[in-house]
């Protein structure tokens, strides 16, 4: 397992190189002049020129990329164009907030998604099934910024139950301020989880080992919990892992609506202000996190699925599939 993790970590390197290059390249395509962005529209020509030299913008693209990568390997993500602060620090500063929001969103999604998914699979083609499928479809179909606006109108303004924006302090304050953004973020994912759970459960329900379990004379509850759910969970974990990775970066809209001081907003701000070092730093960080979450999911997998665990352990089991993959 240790070896596997090391191999996966090594495999991240080319991916990250690719990510940096692509983002670097895309950002350099932007016609705007970073100097002008930093100094604003009332700056003089000389100061603009000076700023450009200071930023190294007079050098060719590849040279700048090489310099950047050189610094990166020394752990230096550079300083932001906009506020001239260390990128790494800012990213580290914002990341926990986004992670918190993403985790809360995923929790919401799981808490709604899994029970509803199970119920609708077990009661396939009933009213319950149809209505939860329709509801979950509505969930995925709703633009989430729209949902966010409607939620804060209702719960913050009309009812005054929850804060409309920002991140509260103290445990309860934080929790209260987390609810609306987490629901906004979680709804779309919940719908995906419902659908995932349902189809994965339906898949499992058809399996022979479920019949075997029933033939043992154990209760239906035991069949569901011990046999169906544990097996159905495996594909759900992948889906959720992937979603989580995307939530980390995809929380941009939610963070904007609820003034949540996270990485997503930092990135939108940086992209629109062409703060290249900031965007690069944040994206690299995101990509690392994304790969990391995927790795975690794979490890979690091994705990859920002993077949995979023994693969990592390098035991025999020369299945045909393993050979071709």
């Amino acid at each position: 397992m240790g070896k596997y993790i090391v191999r996966r970590l090594l495999m991240m390197i080319p991916v990250l190189l690719g990510v940096t290059f692509i983002v670097f390249f895309i950002m350099s395509l932007t016609p705007g002049d970073p100097a002008a962005i930093i100094l604003g529209d009332q700056a003089s020509a000389e100061s603009l020129a000076l700023k450009r030299i200071e930023l190294g913008l007079d050098k060719p693209l590849l040279f700048r990329y090489a310099t950047y990568m050189g610094n990166l390997f020394r752990g230096d993500l550079g300083t932001s164009y906009r506020n001239q602060l260390s990128v790494a620090e800012q990213v580290w500063d914002k990341f926990p907030n986004t992670a918190l929001l993403a985790i809360a969103g995923i929790l919401v999604a799981l808490m709604i998604g899994i029970p509803v998914g199970i119920l609708s699979a077990k009661k396939q083609y009933t009213f319950m099934d149809n209505s939860s499928m329709v509801l979950s479809l509505i969930g995925v179909s709703m633009p989430n910024f729209w949902l966010g606006l409607l939620l804060s109108l209702l719960f913050a303004l009309k009812l005054g139950w929850l804060p409309s924006q920002g991140m509260g302090s103290g445990f309860w304050g934080l929790l209260r301020s987390l609810i609306l953004p987490a629901i906004t973020l979680g709804t779309g994912v919940a719908a995906t989880v419902v659908r995932m759970t349902r189809s994965s459960m339906l898949e499992v329900i058809r399996q022979d080992y479920i019949s075997t379990a029933r033939a043992k004379g154990i209760t239906e509850k035991q069949v569901t919990n011990k046999h169906m759910l544990k097996n159905a969970l495996i594909p759900i974990v992948t889906a959720v892992g992937l979603q989580f990775g995307h939530l980390l970066g995809g929380a941009m809209l939610t963070e904007t609506i609820f003034s949540w001081p996270g990485l997503g907003r930092l990135m939108v701000d940086s992209i629109t202000s062409k703060d290249i070092p900031m965007v690069l730093g944040a994206v690299i960080f995101m990509a690392v996190m994304f790969s990391f979450v995927n790795l975690l999911v794979d490890i979690l997998y091994a705990f859920l699925d002993p077949r995979i665990k023994s693969q990592y352990k390098g035991k025999k089991a020369a299945s045909k599939r393993e050979v071709t993959v």
């Binding site: 396939q124 075997t212 029933r214 004379g217 154990i218 544990k230 002993p306």
Partner: protein, 329 residues
């Protein structure tokens, strides 16, 4: 057939699957009974309704789409079809247990084999202590020839034959009086099949368990059963002892089956197969289900389902030719 020895009696069982493509008539008025300790072979081709019959006994028909339309299943003087779900659960795995066709998929891949055996022990022996349960599970494992030290391993760590042994251990863990084995060796190689069948027979004799052995391999039946039922399109068309079926096959379908198998013992230049194929179970012919393929079929066959004729004390045949034979003989 003395009543005292009768273990299970199925009467006029009819099962349908109500699918989008129409109603699948999987079982049509099947009647069958088994004695304590005997092995009954149930033989038929794909789709004949073997699995459906087996599952009906345990009331494990996937529903929807499966529906038990009518019939009765008497087991130890109770009609299984009228029991509550709780009462039924007490019977499953306890007095009636079942082995499914494919050992590769019949075990839960994420649960250790020991736990899977434990589970059935636990379900039916609530008064035992944890240790006792574990002991019983391990002894079951040893009984099917797997060292108990491997009880914490997972199904994928076992070969096909060993998985089937584990499944047998689960099935026999509570000393059932009836074991239903649905093609227990079809997925295995012949040498392994021999091992597994040998073991099942030995254990079954030791525990005095009756067995319903489902298969499509007449060889397996000939080597392992006391009596045979041939099922075609959801109907038992011939029922008898081994000698009845193999030496005196009466139904044209049974004859055709025996003629289709290349023989190891005799030199046969050409096989004599049955022509045509199984009818569509959503669209069964009105009369004898085999009539469209039968070389002896007459207009009478196509009109009404022939009744079962008692050819001898042990031998029943659902064919009007048998009636002729009975009258002649």
């Amino acid at each position: 057939m003395s009543k005292t020895e009768e273990l299970i009696r199925i009467e006029d069982l009819t099962v349908h699957y109500e699918t989008d493509d129409g109603i699948v008539n999987a079982l049509n008025d099947v009647s069958l009974s088994m004695l304590k300790g005997e092995t009954l072979g149930l033989v038929g081709e794909t789709g004949a309704g073997k699995t459906t019959l087996a599952r009906s006994i345990l009331r494990l028909i996937p529903s929807p789409p499966g529906v038990i339309k009518s019939g009765k299943i008497f087991f130890e003087d109770k009609d299984l079809l009228s029991l509550s779900e709780n009462q039924m659960r007490a019977i499953r795995g306890n007095s009636i247990s079942m082995i499914f066709q494919d050992p590769m998929t019949s075990l839960n891949p994420v649960m250790s084999v020991g736990d899977q055996i434990m589970e059935v022990v636990e379900a039916h022996n609530k008064n035992l202590s944890k240790e006792e349960m574990e002991k019983q599970a391990l002894s079951m494992l040893e009984m099917v020839g797997i060292p108990s030290s491997r009880s914490h391993e997972y199904p994928h760590q076992f070969s096909g034959g060993m998985k089937q042994r584990v499944i047998i251990a689960i099935a026999l863990a509570c000393n059932p009086t009836l074991l239903i084995a649905d093609e227990p060796t079809t997925a295995l190689d012949v040498t392994i099949q021999a091992q597994v069948l040998d073991m099942i027979t030995a254990l079954k004799n030791r525990l005095n368990t009756a067995m319903l052995l489902i298969t499509h391999d007449l060889g397996v039946v000939a080597q392992n059963c006391d009596r045979v039922a041939i099922i075609y399109a959801g109907q038992v068309i011939e029922l008898g002892t081994l000698q009845d079926i193999f030496k005196r096959p009466t139904h044209p379908y049974t004859k055709g089956l025996l003629g289709s198998i290349p023989s190891l013992t005799k030199e046969v230049k050409r096989l004599s197969p049955i022509k045509g194929m199984m009818p569509d179970p959503t669209d069964l012919p009105a009369g004898c289900k085999f009539a469209p393929r039968c070389q002896f079929a007459t207009e009478v066959c196509k009109q009404a389902v022939p009744p079962s004729y008692q050819v001898s004390a042990t031998h029943q045949v659902r064919c009007i030719l048998a009636n002729v034979e009975v009258q002649n003989g």
